[in-house]
Symmetry: C2
């Protein structure tokens, strides 16, 4: 009997929706404890001949000096040797503390969550969620517009039944967040017999730069709680909804009415016979560590179910990339444990917030048609005409933007533009678009 069978049986008892949400691969995965366990038991032996690493006669790493000289300021063992599968334990604990600090700041009590498993950046976190919870039988609900890589991660890779919900809709002529569409589509799929559903939520959103207001977060949480209202609660084969939170841009909320804390806390108490909540976040944007490639996966669940879900995730990572970058983990764990972290983070955010403010006020003085934006790095501007042509013209004028042809719009990422130069850049964009209107 595969070790996965026992894991699945226990998970079904402890968190029914989590088990029933698993894909074929998710069901089959486990973490083989063979060599890692034997190596752990041998850690204190005089001669630990269990593992395929190299150390010198004093047990120290043997990096090439041309590499070591660059990291002379770091602990050689921490950077040149392997780290445990699923990430360093102290790093995972520090990230959990980081999440719980936020829960506490926003007055959420008794948040039950797994120990975050470290992965190789946000994309990896999302693709693990895709592999664990999506296959051809799964109904997946993706926002439109969305980050282009979703099409590979949640489409090409796992080929689920794909549904697209409209993120925004016009209400009385104003573009607003669209909660109805995703709820309506989920309910319709349930009605037509879908048993495994996955909703991907991305707030703050790429490419729109929009995040939920607190009021919208309340409404969304309530609406999600009600998606199974038409299903009898004790139905044997009750459908399950996994909610994957892509929080890549978490912490970059610029308006006072924005939801500041993770949606994870609001959703964590949803019925575990029906729901599984999976938070994907990381240091890439939140800690300004783009080159580090450290993300995390965390589940809202009981401690007993958590250890099983963590094992599934670690088995998935083991089978795909094995250990993560040691240097990046070392840098991040030190930062997370530093008293200066939040002050330094705030300083960087202030720079971005100022750019946001200038962007907003500059746009307000134009006739440009912008989508609502209040967070992350982005604003979407409609072009009415061919956006690719607009992009190429802007390139000639020294402005690089992304064209989104499918919606006749361009995406401006203001996170790299000095605040003092934003008005001039906006002026150029307006002039260019005016020509075409």
């Amino acid at each position: 009997m595969s070790p996965s069978v026992k894991l699945n049986q226990e998970l079904l008892r402890l968190h029914p929706a989590a088990c029933r949400a698993l894909s074929r691969l998710g069901l089959d995965l486990f973490f083989p404890k063979g060599i890692p366990l034997q190596a752990a038991q041998a850690a204190d032996t005089q001669w630990n001949a269990t593992i395929g690493q190299c150390t010198d006669d004093d047990g120290q790493p043997m990096p090439l000096p041309i590499m070591a000289r660059r990291l002379a300021n770091m602990n050689s063992k921490e950077v040149f040797l392997y780290t445990p599968q699923g990430g360093r334990k102290d790093l995972r604990q520090a990230w959990k503390k980081h999440i719980l600090r936020e829960a506490s700041l926003f007055d959420y009590d008794n948040v039950e969550m797994s120990l975050p498993v470290a992965c190789s950046g946000l994309t990896h976190g999302l693709s693990i969620a895709a592999e664990l919870f999506m296959d051809s039988e799964t109904h997946v609900f993706l926002p439109r517009p969305r980050w282009g890589n979703y099409n590979l991660i949640f489409g090409v890779r796992v080929q689920p039944q794909q549904h697209n919900y409209e993120l925004m809709t016009h209400q009385n002529g104003v573009l607003k967040l669209n909660i109805d569409d995703l709820v309506t589509q989920i309910k319709a799929s349930v009605k037509s017999g879908a048993k495994k559903l996955v909703l991907v939520l991305n707030f703050p959103s790429n490419p729109t730069g929009y995040t939920l207001t607190k009021e919208e977060a309340d409404r969304l949480a309530e609406a999600l709680d009600g998606v199974f209202v038409d299903v009898s609660e004790d139905e044997e084969d009750h459908p399950v909804l996994t909610i994957v939170l892509d929080e890549a841009y978490h912490g970059m909320e610029w308006e006072d009415d924005c939801l500041r804390e993770s949606l994870f806390f609001r959703l964590s108490k949803l019925n575990r016979r029906q729901f599984l909540i999976c938070k994907v976040d990381g240091s890439t944007k939140e800690m300004f560590f783009f080159g580090g490639r450290i993300g995390f996966l965390t589940f809202a669940t009981s401690p007993e179910a958590a250890s099983i879900l963590e094992e599934k995730v670690i088995g998935c990572i083991r089978s795909a990339i094995s250990a993560l970058s040691s240097v990046a983990q070392s840098l991040l764990v030190e930062a997370l444990n530093s008293d200066d972290l939040y002050e330094q983070q705030a300083k960087n955010r202030d720079v971005l917030k100022e750019r946001y403010e200038v962007m907003k006020s500059s746009l307000a003085g134009t006739h440009l048609v912008c989508w609502p934006f209040n967070s992350a790095f982005f604003v979407i501007i409609e072009t009415s005409l061919d956006s690719e042509q607009v992009r190429l013209e802007l390139l000639q004028k020294g402005v690089g933007v992304v064209s989104i042809s499918s919606m006749n719009a361009i995406r401006i990422s203001y996170s790299t533009v000095p605040a003092s130069e934003i008005p001039q850049m906006v002026q150029i964009i307006e002039d260019t678009l005016k020509k075409h209107s």
Copy 2:
């Protein structure tokens, strides 16, 4: 029409076996050029507002000072910002140069190969090969014994038709490399109608610590060239064999008669209507950079077909983890371009080779039943009795080894044991096993 369709059509023309070897996912993959292309075109604009990174008003990264201080000795842009998909171009070129240097040292001319694509360590390279070339229709041939993680990477993950070939066999009472078994099994599968076959070769081998002698390499290459001898060469639906070379321990060959160079060169000229050769290697062991997580995938193919296969690999990486660790790439590219690289590498190898020599001579003076070993970090010792019990007893005596229950054997990794202490360790192992015999 998906961009993948055009790629597949061209690949079929340029390297028929490579296209016909692709899995469902391999066929579907491509690299979406949208934002990366637009970002590349905007690289020189005054305001590059294409990408979700943060830079300060001077275009410099904005790392948290608590992280930056540790890497003050490195180029901040190189370590804190994103690197291109598939790895830095200069790194990929440096690795290609590294491979071609070897080809030249061993007198292989005109080796046609792709530009190596960087991935997140050896496991990742293997799992990419699994995803691109294995699905439920593929017949996969894995060595026995093998690294345990093969069962996840090539088994649980992609669920092919799995065959196990015996790596060693007794010939006149002596354990020898077994070339016949893998060839016989491949031929039998072809005969029974298998169309897509993948052979995984792992030399130097984990867990045996054995690699091919030059003579065995010649015989193996010849035998592989002949696996399709019973199939008409112009058969429309000719079966194809992908050979995945797991060269994690490349460079760690300790005997004069060992094959020193990659098997890639010998196999690279195999008929491209029938064969695809995929080399997986990296810096983990070869450059003693265990914590770095940088591996490479390289194909033996024409320049035109190479660019398509590279795109498939990069699409696969984009969909699974996106960019790689920037710090690790920066360290590795500098090392590869350093004049001191091979001297420093040789120095480390000398330490390991000495341990190997002492291990070999110590074992020679015992009655222990060892498998042939001549490379990598390992030696396998048969235990006749329950190997798990032996392992636990050895633990008590300060010796950590890995037990391989399925073959009643233990694996000793001598790469972490000082040469001067190896005789004592071997003595303890012999005493313990004697008790049980």
